[in-house]
């Protein structure tokens, strides 16, 4: 069966699953951040996504834009650090672009995610190879778009995105950081996976998983 749309419920499930994954991987994310940052990425993401899901549960969103704008605002106001504004802006833009709808079709989702990426770039000025979450987000969305050229099945596009995300995440290991905290380490940033890249990979894992599940 081809899933060529994604529902508000599924999108809500995506965020919930992302919360679960960052919570499960809290120590892993923090260990990555210990090596080249300040040892808080796991707790930042867990705190932020915890607040997002709490908010959703307390007052479920009626439309896709409401869902993601709420998530974005919650991240912006509960995380702080670099990841708060970046993930926050990502979801805010996703919401704005998606609009007040109940369901997204494949191109609609792709456009929303792409707007999210643009927001991250506008905020953080990261470029490819800077060793940031950009290095997962960009190739994952490219893979998502490419998959949609072949088939409108969101589930397999999400699978392709997740696969590209993992590759992108692992590729950050060899990079010298030019943005964020890891850049202070210079050459010593090489040899470690970027924590934000790892959490962004979890974001695509969550999307792939909730679509497969159903």
């Amino acid at each position: 069966m081809v899933n060529d749309t994604i529902s508000l419920d599924q999108l809500t499930g995506w965020l919930t699953r992302f919360r679960d994954l960052v919570t499960e991987q809290v120590s892993y994310l923090t260990e990555l951040d210990s090596a080249i940052g300040d040892a808080d990425h796991g707790s930042n993401m867990t705190r932020g996504m915890g607040a997002v899901v709490e908010r959703i549960q307390a007052s479920p969103a009626g439309t896709v834009d409401e869902l993601f704008k709420g998530a974005g605002m919650t991240l912006v106001t509960s995380v702080g650090g670099a990841s708060g504004p970046l993930y926050g802006t990502f979801f805010l833009r996703v919401g704005t672009t998606a609009g007040p709808v109940g369901t997204l079709d494949a191109p609609g989702l792709a456009a929303a995610l792409r707007a999210g990426l643009d927001g991250v770039v506008a905020r953080g000025k990261a470029e490819a190879g800077d060793k940031t979450m950009f290095d997962v987000l960009a190739p994952a969305l490219d893979a998502f778009d490419d998959a949609l050229l072949v088939s409108s099945d969101i589930s397999s596009a999400a699978g392709a995105a997740y696969s590209a995300a993992q590759t992108g995440r692992d590729a950050t290991e060899a990079l010298l950081a030019r943005k964020g905290r890891a850049s202070y380490l210079g050459e010593r940033s090489i040899g470690h996976i970027d924590p934000g890249a790892a959490s962004t990979s979890l974001l695509f894992q969550a999307l792939a998983e909730i679509l497969v599940k159903e």
Binding site: T30, S34, I36, R47, T77, G81, G84, P85, Y184
Partner: protein, 331 residues
Amino acid sequence: MKKLINSPETVLADSLVGVAAAHPELRVDHVNRIIYRAAPTRAGKVALLSGGGTGHEPLHGGFVGVGMLDAACAGAVFTSPTPDQMLEATKVVDSGAGVLHIVKNYTGDVMNFEMGAELAAETGIVVSVVVVNDDVAVEDSTFTAGRRGVGTTVLLEKIVGAAAEEGRDLAAVTAVARQVNESGRSMGVALSSCTVPSAGKPTFELPENEMEIGVGIHGEPGRRRVPLAGAAEVARQLVEPILADLDFTGAPTIVMLNGLGGTPLIELYVMYAEVRKILDAAGITVARSLVGNYITALDMAGCSVTILKADDDLLHLWDAPVNTAGLRWGI
């Protein structure tokens, strides 16, 4: 992890309760996690707002008070506060004369303060920003995150606080802030990492015979790991890159020997003695000194040196009365 806390999640909230209890001259907004002076900003006085992740105490909350900051926003440990905090604080402290945001140059702090300032601007408040980036351990480049903001932040908050207290306007206050940032340089060393409460263990392990040179204030590894050395040699490794970066001769300087949280005062004085020997030999005039824990990284063992090239105006502002939990004189 051994800490005098109730739980990693409540460190910030609990410590703010302690701050409120210990300092009747401050007012703590526990919901928004903002520390204010108890008295509102005097009409016409430019307000100074700073903030940052928790774990650098006394920075910034300990520098709220007459002659320094009007308010400080507190984030989670090593995590910038959020834009809504900056918006709220900016609204509260503005007396109409505008608000200067003092931001340490970290991606998170810069982005969150930026968003906060955008929101504040929408309400019609005039916000001016200074981003402190004084850490010579980090190479400066517009293609990277640039230099970290470290020790100069302390001197800047004091000096600029005095300028605002004198009644200088926002442009003038901002100009002083820029001058201090451009004239201050810092470099740090760690003998141990620190333990972020939520991480539960030290950010990195350092063998008995090694130290990290070029660390910031977040318990992170530094630029390079080198053999542990005596105080004189450590001082040399800290001061030389500072002197190589800016010419400090021919002007009075303010020198801070800052502890990173886990190093006792006696070692800071030993280090200060060595720093002074190097500065004396380099023909640098030290007009004012500050030795102690002012901008810390939780329980990290180590210290940093900050040297600020001053002039008559900056010295005059430095000497002006200040009444905060972390710095106090003349009042």
